[in-house]
Amino acid sequence: MAPATPPAIACDSISKSYGDLRAVQELTLEVPAGAVYGFLGPNGSGKTTTIRMMVNILVPDSGRVLIQGQPAGDHTKDRIGYLPEERGLYLKMKVGELLEFFAELKGVRPAQARQRAQQWLQRLELSDWSDKKLNELSKGMQQKIQFIVAVIADPPILILDEFSSGLDPVNANLLKDILLDLRAQGKTILFSTHRMEEAERLCDHVCLIHHGRKVLDGRLADLRAAAGKSTLRVDYRGDRAILNQAPGVVQADDFGNYAELRLAPESQSQTAVSTILRFLAPRLEITRFELLEPSLNQIFLDAVGGAPTSNQQLATSNFP
C-alpha cells in the first residue's frame, strides 16, 4: 500500500466508559483504505460503542479517532455512510423524499440527491415505491431503504453495524453484490457482526474484540496462516466415539454429518495426518478427508481462551 494514503479509519488507544462500565478499553486499530474490514465480537463486546465513536456520535474518554488522517468531528461525518444496528426511518415520509432528505443531510445538492435516489431505487427494484409512504413498505423493503440511506451520498467509507440482521437470503445476497461492487470502486467497508462465518466470506481484514478490548487483528489470510493447518474435516458414517481415540486429536467437534478434529501442534505434519487416516479408515466409512485452516470462530475461541477475564461481568450487561 502506498504510504501516502492514510488509513480510512484509525483508532488510537480509545476508551469509553459509562459510569462503572468500561465499554471500550484502549482499543487501537487501523482500517486500511479500500479494505473490507470485519469488526467482530460477541454481543455486548463494545462493537457498537466503538462504531459510534468512529461516526462521532460519542466522543472517546481518552484516545482519538482519525478519519482519513483527520480527527473525527462534524466535518468528517460526510465521509462516512452509516447503517446503525437499530434501524429507524420516518415512517410517514414518502420514500423518495426521505432519501433526498438524508442525501442532502450528507452534503449532496438537492438536484443531485433526487437523481441518486431514483438510481438507487431502480437498482434495488423499488422504483415503483418512490411516492409511497414508508409505512406502506414491507420490513424487507424498509431494510433496503435503510441501506440506500447509508450509501446515497457516495461516501468513501461505509460502516455497517450488524448489516445482515433481519435480511432475507435473497436481499442479503443482493446487498452483498452491491458491497462487492462498492469495494471494486475503492470504497472502504467496515462491518460489524457477531457471525464469524459471514465475516469469513467477505472480509480481507478482521479485528476481534472481547470485553471492550482487542483480542487480535490483521489480514484474515495472515491470521489463518499463523494459526496453521490445525483442523481435519472428516465426512463419515459410523461410531463417533472412534474420532476421539485417533492419535494426535485434541478435540473432536461432531456436527452430525461431519466432524472437525483439532490436532495437537506436534501432529500437524503430513505423516501425523496419514497416521490418523490409517487409524480411522478401517473403523469408519469416510467420504471426505480434508486438512483445513482453522475457522475464524476457532481462531477467536482460541484467542479468547487465553485472554484475561478479570472484567468478565462487563460483557454480561448488554450495553450499547
Binding site: Y82, Y90, G107
Partner: protein
C-alpha cells in the same frame, strides 16, 4: 446548509398534513361562518318594526315622540308603528287591562304610559312582552328624555332658539397616560391588549411546545436519531427541529392574523358605510409595543420550545412526557399570574427584576411596555438574556439528546442527567 435541510423537512412534514390544513384554514372559515350567521340574526332582529301604543296622560309629549320615532329600518320599513290610545286617570285601569290583553295577543309589542306629572317625576313606564329588546327601550328613553328636557327648559324660561343648541351634543371623558415622553391618549385599552397578546403567546407555547417535544421523542423511539447524528452535529439538529416547528406555528399564525385583519378591516369599513363609527373600539396600539411583542413572542417561543425539546430528549414515552412537562407549564402559569402584579406596579424593583428573568421576560416585559415606559436598556437586556438562554438551553438539550438516544429505558434522575452531560 444542513440546518436548512432539517428546518425544511420539519416544516414541510407538518404543513403538508391534513390536520394542519384543517386547523389552519378551517378555524378562520368556521369563525367567519359564525360571525356571518350572528350578523344575519342581529340584522333580522333589527329589521322587525315595533308596534307601540302610547298613553299620554300629560297630553303633551305624544306628537314630539311620534315624530322622533319616525325612523326607517335598513329594509326601508318604519322602525316603529306608534299610535296614541286616549285615556284619563279615571279610565286608565280599564285601558291598561285592555292593552295588556293586546300585548299578550301579540297585537302590540308594548305600551308606554306617560304620567301626567312626567315633568316633575321624570319617569314613564314601558310595558313590553320582550323586556330585553334593548334597542326599543333605548330609543324610547332617549327621545322621551329629550322631549321632557326641552319642556322643562321651556318652563324655566329658556328661549326655544337656545334649547336646541343646549340639548344636542353629548359628553366624553378622555383618559391620558402620563409618560416621560409626554402624555398620550390611553383609555386602558393597551393593558387589555397586552393581556390579550400575552394569552396568545401562552396558548401557542402550550400548543406547539408539545409538538416540539413529540418531534424529539418520536425520533428517539423510532431510532432515527442515530442516522441523523451520524450526519449532523446535535446542536444543528436541535436548532433545526425547533426552528422548523416554530416556522410551522408562525405560518399558521400568519394565516389567522391575515384573516383577522381582513375581517376587521372589512367589518369596520362595512360599519362605517352603514353610518356607525367603530373607530373608538379599535384599540390604539403604539408601534413600539407591537415591535416588542413580536420580538418577545419569537424569543419566548424559541426559549420554551427548547425547554420542551429538552424534555423530549430526556423521556422515552408520551406518558412520561406528560408528567415531566408539568414544571414547565407551572412556570408559564406563574408568568401569567405575575403579569397582573406587574401591571399594578410596572416600575417597582420586583417588577423590573421579574421582567428581566428570561423565563418570565417574554410575558412580563411586554406587559411593562404596554402599561408603562421601561428604560430601553432594560428591554434590550431582557431580549439579550432571552436569546442567550435559548441558545444555552438548546446546547444543553443537544447534549442530553446525544446521550439520551443511546439509553432508552427508565427516565434518568437529576444526577444521572448531569452525568449524561459529561458523557457528551
Amino acid at each position: 446548509m444542513k440546518l436548512l435541510t432539517i428546518i425544511k423537512r420539519e416544516f414541510l412534514s407538518r404543513v403538508r398534513t391534513k390536520g394542519f390544513f384543517f386547523f389552519t384554514f378551517g378555524i378562520p372559515v368556521i369563525a367567519a361562518g359564525f360571525l356571518f350567521f350572528e350578523y344575519r340574526i342581529v340584522l333580522a332582529s333589527q329589521n322587525v318594526s315595533a308596534n307601540i301604543a302610547v298613553v299620554d296622560l300629560s297630553q303633551q309629549f305624544y306628537p314630539a315622540l311620534a315624530q322622533a320615532l319616525d325612523t326607517k329600518l335598513e329594509n326601508g320599513e318604519a322602525a316603529f308603528h306608534v299610535h296614541q290610545v286616549a285615556a284619563t286617570a279615571a279610565t286608565l285601569p280599564a285601558v291598561e287591562a285592555q292593552l295588556r290583553r293586546q300585548v299578550l295577543a301579540k297585537q302590540e309589542d308594548g305600551y308606554l304610559i306617560i304620567p301626567a306629572d312626567v315633568l316633575t317625576s321624570r319617569t314613564a313606564q314601558y310595558h313590553a312582552r320582550n323586556a330585553a329588546a334593548v334597542a326599543v327601550r333605548e330609543s324610547l328613553q332617549a327621545h322621551l328624555r329629550e322631549a321632557v328636557t326641552r319642556a322643562r327648559m321651556a318652563a324655566a324660561g329658556i328661549p326655544a332658539s337656545q334649547i336646541a343648541g343646549i340639548v344636542s351634543g353629548g359628553f366624553r371623558l378622555n383618559q391620558l397616560k402620563v409618560t416621560q415622553a409626554g402624555d398620550s391618549a390611553d383609555n386602558g385599552e393597551t393593558a387589555a391588549v397586552a393581556i390579550g397578546l400575552v394569552f396568545v403567546l401562552y396558548l401557542f407555547l402550550l400548543l406547539y411546545g408539545v409538538v416540539v417535544m413529540k418531534a424529539v421523542t418520536e425520533e428517539k423511539t423510532t431510532r432515527i436519531s442515530e442516522v441523523l447524528l451520524a450526519a449532523v452535529d446535535p446542536f444543528s439538529l436541535m436548532l433545526g427541529k425547533i426552528l422548523g416547528v416554530v416556522a410551522t406555528a408562525l405560518a399558521q399564525l400568519a394565516v389567522w392574523a391575515a384573516t383577522l385583519l381582513l375581517v376587521g378591516v372589512y367589518g369596520v369599513a362595512m360599519a362605517r358605510a352603514a353610518g356607525a363609527d367603530f373607530s373608538r373600539y379599535v384599540p390604539h396600539l403604539p408601534a413600539w409595543l407591537l415591535v416588542c411583542f413580536v420580538i418577545f413572542f419569537l424569543l419566548g417561543f424559541l426559549l420554551y420550545a427548547s425547554l420542551y425539546a429538552a424534555i423530549g430528549a430526556v423521556v422515552s414515552s408520551d406518558q412520561e412526557a406528560q408528567q415531566t412537562q408539568m414544571p414547565l407549564t407551572m412556570v408559564l402559569v406563574a408568568a401569567i399570574y405575575l403579569s397582573f402584579l406587574v401591571m399594578a406596579s410596572p416600575s417597582s424593583t420586583l417588577s423590573v427584576a421579574l421582567s428581566l428573568f428570561p423565563f418570565f421576560a417574554p410575558v412580563l416585559m411586554v406587559v411593562r411596555v404596554a402599561v408603562s415606559h421601561p428604560p430601553l436598556w432594560q428591554v434590550l437586556l431582557a431580549m439579550a438574556l432571552c436569546l442567550a438562554t435559548f441558545l444555552g438551553c438548546t446546547q444543553v438539550t443537544a447534549k442530553i439528546y446525544r446521550v439520551g438516544i443511546l439509553m432508552t429505558g427508565k427516565r434518568p434522575n437529576l444526577p444521572e442527567l448531569l452525568r449524561w452531560l459529561k458523557y457528551a
